[in-house]
Chain length 415, copies 2
């Protein structure tokens, strides 16, 4: 007998029929003798539909009211799923975030979980009942409903798993695991059997939508083993855990790409000690996240600063910079939109210093120009022209031999 | 400055556009300097749609889960309405039943309100904000969400009005008040300017859908003045309150009818002391409401019992009776479906003993046969053939001179 938290995303419960299939899967796990808690998202496009409804009456819906509205999506899901499970003769009880003990920060739209008082869920599990918990939501100390922001249901599932000491947190989704890269770009992309928290975190942050970065962070923090698998068919899925063997010679675990990249360059910034800090403070105040930063000393007194932001944030970024132009004495502000970021991720890189160079070689040999570079211990990201991104992913997938099975590729890659 | 509770039903908030119109009406009341709390139902057909969704996964949805599901309908409404009001520059806060302090019985699907801790609503009103409260729902002592049953939003509004000591509870609906009878049957039907709680209660119980009987009871109990008016245009509406002048000569205030009537007769029941009690206990256990009961002594040992139930309850009623047939020694069980009930209501009847006779005369002169009769101090109901019901309403409306204005009709009616 194991204690399992199962999480089903919106597409897995988009229709009454899919709900029934989810209910059958839950009932099967119960039949196998497991204790089961389920976390579920809003059905299909419900969240988007509710946002559209809000916009019809208020073009800037206040965050508290938007959370009041959006939290109904998951509440519908838990009620329907609990009914569907009960229909199969398995006892089940739906719980809102608040009823399940999720205490959250009073930050509407992106609340963080403060703690989980899982006593009610524990009681249900001990009694052999299925607890069906609303993802994405919690209650503040003042009794207000607040949501965790997009992707928050993954975090709910992991936090619940940590709180009840679950043996595993199963994330059911519309793909059957984490792939070496997007199979729509590289048809030979291979499902990864195991990946470490850190690697998954990098991939998630770099745009692999299969898991929310915050959920992975939470899983790492509490040592909750995750498995990502398909809600539509059986299959081993991908395990995400602390210790993962580096497959022989496999220094790169996966390749991510991101088309939502814009680059801004400040050309000819007089070299004052605090100018860099002032720019990024001003951007942070506008909630603009800066990703890669490159500073180049042109000569003693003047330098260039380049950095990337999300494309959506480009207009806001330029507005902030124009406002500081005179103050900073910037010569020119240059914006580029048609860019993308391609990244390789793998814990094996730590002990293989030549990996970044192999990435640059592969891209330049394919005739692409590398505009910016950013590295961490287990990833290398390059900013390239947007039009090159598909080919870049394909070239790197081949260069790091990710298509073969681990056995096949063993020994063929050397760092 | 007055303190007002405004209640808007599902058709008043069926679309985003109607939500905006409701918001404008609320904002207007605020501009006039009033303190305003709003109670709102689920948008349009939401409740029915949610029930249909539930039935897709479970043909007998468990009551607790159904309440979890249905309560989202009102939660969507309060959030959207609060957004729409804020859009007009008026501060507004949405509150679920639980957040607004509605503590209810743990009876899912038809919980009664135990008490209302209106401190949060009071604080909002005192601060000049609009409290937008979800109708139809509350929270049990165990933190479970329970609904009040159909029509419950009226009760929510009246209970809230009582708790905050509101000067008036305004019920906005898709008709512009309470009419002497259904204007679809009698085009000359007249809007009633004022009606007493007791009269309204009779009319509501007799099928006038404009107000829920429980809400009227609550209003009477706490002395909350109600006004029923149109949400689509301005107009005085109908006031429901304790003391209402009997318009000169106007002994009948309104006429109600109900087509949902079936009659069951037990013919030849041996005259044992407890047989009647046993029949109605058995029906009560099946949640079957019995309306009019007539018992006739045929001779010393055997009598007939006739009573009416809702048509939906007829199959269940017959099942119960067949099960007791031998035990009671009943000769024959006869069911009739094609019946209707027509009722006259008016506080003026108390001092006018001839009213019932005038009703019988009017119906029999029109060639109708009266199958059963039931009376209270302020109403007389007759069961007649279903095919006669429209004509019966028209005949009675004329006989009691309800079409004219009060002035016109004064003196023309004598009891």
């Amino acid at each position: 007998m194991a204690r399992i938290v199962m999480k089903f995303g919106g597409s897995s419960v988009a229709t009454a029929e899919r709900m029934q299939r989810v209910a059958e899967r839950v009932a099967r796990a119960k039949e196998q003798g497991h204790q089961v808690a389920v976390v579920v998202s809003a059905m299909g496009d419900t969240t988007d539909d509710l946002i559209a409804l809000a916009r019809q009456v208020n073009d800037r819906p206040p965050a508290r009211e938007l959370d009041m509205l959006l939290s109904t999506g998951e509440q519908v899901s838990i009620a329907v799923l609990a009914m569907a499970i009960q229909r199969l003769g398995v006892r089940a009880v739906s719980l809102t975030g608040g009823q399940a003990g999720f205490r959250v920060e009073p930050v509407f739209g992106k609340a963080r979980i403060l703690d989980v008082d899982a006593r009610r869920v524990e009681r249900l599990l001990a009694d052999g009942q299925v607890a069906v918990v609303a993802g994405f939501q919690g209650v503040t100390d003042e009794g207000e409903i607040a949501t965790l922001g997009r992707g928050g249901s993954d975090t709910t599932a992991v936090a619940l798993a940590a709180s009840v000491g679950a043996d595993v947190c199963e994330i059911y989704t519309d793909v059957d695991g984490v792939y070496t890269t997007d199979p729509r770009i590289v048809p030979e992309a291979r499902k990864i059997p195991e990946i470490s928290y850190d690697e998954m975190l990098e991939l998630a942050n770099l745009g692999a939508a299969v898991l929310h970065p915050r959920a992975v962070e939470y899983a790492k923090l509490y040592g909750v083993p995750l498995v990502v698998r398909s809600s539509f068919h059986d299959g081993a899925g991908t395990w995400v855990k602390e210790e993962v063997e580096v497959e022989q010679g496999q220094v790169v675990r996966g390749i991510a790409h991101d088309l939502n990249v814009a680059k801004v360059s400040l050309v000819g910034v007089p070299n004052r000690r605090d100018s860099l800090g002032r720019v990024f403070h001003a951007l942070a105040e506008e909630n603009i996240n800066v990703d890669i930063i490159v500073q180049s000393i042109v000569h003693n007194d003047v330098h260039d600063i380049s950095f990337t932001v999300c494309r959506d944030d480009l207009p806001g970024t330029l507005q902030v910079l124009e406002g500081m132009r005179v103050e900073l004495g910037v010569g020119e502000i240059v914006a580029e939109e048609e860019l993308a970021k391609v990244s390789i991720v793998g814990a094996g890189m730590i002990s293989n210093p030549g990996v970044a160079a192999r990435m640059f070689d592969a891209l330049t040999e394919a005739g692409m120009s590398i505009r910016m570079v950013s590295t961490s211990e287990i990833k290398v990201s390059c900013v390239i022209d947007a039009e090159d991104v598909r080919r870049a992913v394909q070239v790197l997938h081949r260069a790091f031999d990710l298509s073969g099975t681990p056995e096949e590729s063993a020994g063929t890659v050397t760092a």
